[in-house]
């Protein structure tokens, strides 16, 4: 930085939405990639007038790990561990989504019991992701204690999943046709106990956060993503439902056995940060409902097909398979050339599209709002960068 960073520095930016003429009294602020609120390594280049944002340029790619290139170098099974590292917060959902996609290509039947376990684990994972979001979002707007409460409850989920999958975060639990390990009664008991515990804890969350005047002041009317913006940018997940569109892949094109469960799709109308908060907290409750039903109905039986395939060699063709991850629609686009190695795997990740909408949302807010908005979108950077 050769010149003094004064607030009076004149902008040289040419792409400003406010016209090409340099504005007096504006400057650039580089937020990230190392910044406490950028959820890892997101970088926002803000064009500011005082604390008011005129324009924003998200810079991504700081966690690019070449998942899609790796897919071209490994066979279908060997790509499995990659999937949960794409979005490590809902790794189970991604892992199982990939399994389901490959199963669809290979026309493998999955046993009933495995399907139920998949639903339970996915929903537990969704809750743990939402709890982590709850904590970090509050941390972003300055509330430190809720973060620790949320992590405390999240640890219960990790303990349950750790016991059956052997991993706390980056699960590799699914296999083509089923799962690696069966669950036992302890797992089901722990899950029931957790559902009960979280039901008791949710009112505490509401008491601490939802009703707080400062919290509402920070979130109400902030960062509105309306239906128009959502449609234009392909925003999905809780951000879309907060804008009043009840779109959930679990309902729109049911996969696995989701059509057997009763659950609501929570929606809000206002599309602001508070609406996104409310939708996510309501989704935790709906996930608890699904878990309850699945635990009650789970049948006995095998968790893998009787004669599991040894070689996975789908016929030449293409497949798009979508699931609802904790952040929105996660799509896997697999192109097979008939060999054991995928020709191409494209991962359509929800945060990529959700974050792309930021240049439409952030201008005319303040720095503090930026933090709240990016926090409320719930981005996972390696999922965007892949």
């Amino acid at each position: 930085m050769p010149t003094r960073a004064k607030a009076g520095a004149v902008s040289e930016r040419q792409h400003s939405k406010l016209g090409d003429a340099p504005l007096p009294e504006t400057y650039h602020l580089n937020m990230g990639p190392q910044h406490p609120s950028m959820h890892g390594v997101l970088r926002l280049v803000l064009h500011l007038d005082g604390e008011r944002i005129l324009d924003v340029d998200p810079v991504i790619g700081y966690a690019h790990r070449a998942h899609e290139k790796m897919a071209e170098h490994r066979n279908y099974l060997m790509f499995l561990p990659n999937t949960s590292r794409v979005d490590y917060l809902s790794g189970m959902i991604y892992n199982l989504a990939y399994c389901q996609a490959v199963e669809k290509m290979l026309e493998i039947e999955v046993p009933e019991r495995a399907e139920y376990i998949r639903v339970i684990c996915s929903e537990l994972n969704r809750i743990s992701s939402h709890l982590l979001w709850f904590g970090t979002f509050l941390l972003d707007i300055g509330g430190i204690t809720p973060f620790l409460y949320a992590f405390d409850d999240r640890e219960q989920i990790l303990e349950i999943l750790d016991r059956v999958t052997g991993s706390r975060l980056t699960y590799c639990y699914g296999r083509f046709g089923g799962l690696t390990e069966d669950v036992d009664t302890t797992f089901l008991d722990q899950t029931r106990a957790f559902v009960k515990r979280l039901r008791e804890r949710l009112p505490e969350y509401h008491a601490l956060v939802t009703g707080n005047v400062i919290f509402r002041g920070r979130c109400e009317g902030v960062g509105v993503i309306d239906q128009h913006v959502a449609l234009a940018y392909g925003v999905t997940g809780p951000c879309l439902r907060a804008a009043g569109i009840a779109f959930d892949v679990r309902r729109a094109e049911p996969y696995g056995i989701y059509d057997r469960f009763e659950f609501d799709i929570p929606t809000e109308q206002s599309g602001d940060a508070l609406a996104r908060y409310k939708v996510r907290v309501a989704e935790i409750e709906q996930s608890l409902r699904i878990i309850e039903q699945a635990v009650a109905q789970i049948p006995d039986g095998p968790i893998m097909p009787d004669k599991p395939k040894k070689r996975f060699k789908p016929a030449a063709g293409e497949l798009y398979f979508a699931v609802e991850s904790a952040r929105g629609q996660f799509g896997i686009y697999i192109v097979s050339d008939g060999s054991e190695i995928p020709f191409r795997i494209k991962l359509r990740t929800p945060s990529f599209s959700n974050l792309a909408a930021m240049p439409a949302v952030l201008p005319q807010t303040t720095i503090a709002d930026t933090i709240a908005i990016v926090g409320s979108i719930d981005v996972v950077i390696p999922e965007i960068d892949r």
Binding site: L138, D140, G142, T145, L148, F215, R218, A368
Partner: protein
């Protein structure tokens, strides 16, 4: 008190300075430890446990470590301002502490305009903060410093207005006289609104959550002290915790009756009240999210300032009508 021990004014000044510095250092070490322990309790954790009994030496370890850290001066910094800032931030604190009556006979300086001096010196600290923000030549630091100055101006007004209504009651700006006037009942009972306004203003004056926007960690990295390392950073820390002690001392003196209290010696009561208030401020910090800057400002100008003005006017009218 020291006047009787030493005749020489210079010796007295030196000795008082040493005592105050010692007190402030121990106070900050204790408060940081207390804050970490308290926050841990609020958050289902343990807090420091390893260094010393219940982690009591943890903050000492932190301080010694910071002493031994490299001091970095950014290449493009405005060096005189950058180096002076920590001193300017910390010095008023030392003066501030010397003004309070800790016990009936325990007081470093007793001035007629004690209250005015306390607020005057509290204002100087913010010059230091602005120097730090400007001198660092860092945009985050500058933003933090600008926020700090705006916040200070906004909150000092209700703070002083609420203190003024106490001086109306006590008819003095001498701190010892204000305390003596509360020998029967603390002014908290006569000035509940003033006390509430003062408490809110005090939290804002010390840049504590939910008003910690000048150093808002999640927004401005570390705010105005983003570029300070080692001991210079420690001085900012020391000043922050000392400032907490000072605003609590003011509140104790103005509203809680200072050293007055049954059974226990005066200085014990004084410190019980001071640290009780500090704990309250810590409780705030670990409970509330942070306000946005414009919300903070509009809260000060549209709510606190009119309220404190009304409180002052009301007090004046009531006193005029009913006293004698």
């Amino acid at each position: 008190m020291f006047n009787q021990l030493f005749g020489n004014i210079w010796l007295v000044t030196l000795a008082s300075g040493a005592v105050i510095m010692g007190f402030l250092t121990v106070n900050a070490l204790f408060l940081v430890w207390l804050e970490r322990k308290l926050s841990a309790r609020f958050q289902r954790r343990l807090g420091p446990t390893e260094v010393g009994f219940a982690g009591t030496l943890q903050t000492l370890a932190d301080a010694v470590k910071l002493l031994g850290k490299q001091l970095i001066t950014p290449r493009n910094a405005d060096k005189p301002l950058y180096h002076l800032a920590p001193v300017i931030v910390f010095m008023p604190v030392v003066v501030g502490v010397s003004l309070f009556p800790i016990d009936r006979q325990l007081m470093f300086v007793d001035l007629n305009v004690g209250l005015v001096l306390v607020f005057a010196f509290a204002g100087i600290g913010f010059i230091g903060i602005f120097m730090a923000g400007w001198g660092s030549n860092n945009k985050y630091a500058l933003l933090g410093a600008m926020r700090a100055v705006a916040q200070n101006i906004a909150y000092e007004i209700p703070l002083i207005l609420s203190a003024l209504s106490v001086t109306l009651l006590a008819r003095s700006m001498k701190l010892s006289a204000i305390v003596e006037a509360q020998s029967t009942l603390p002014y908290l009972l006569f000035q509940p609104l003033g006390a509430a306004i003062y408490l809110i203003g005090a939290v804002a004056e010390t840049n504590r959550a939910p008003f910690d926007i000048p150093e808002a960690e999640s927004e401005l990295v570390a705010g105005f002290h983003s570029e300070y390392s080692g001991m210079r950073f420690a001085v900012f820390f020391l000043a922050e915790y000392s400032n907490m002690a000072i605003v609590s001392m003011v509140a104790t003196t103005l509203f809680l009756g200072g050293y007055h209290g049954p059974w226990l010696p005066g200085y014990v009561w004084f410190f019980i009240k001071v640290y009780g208030l500090i704990s309250l401020m810590m409780w705030f910090r670990w409970t509330f999210p942070r306000l946005r800057f414009d919300q903070l400002m509009s809260f000060a100008w549209t709510v606190l300032v009119p309220l404190s003005l009304a409180n002052l006017m009301g007090t004046a009218v009531v006193l005029k009508v009913f006293r004698r």
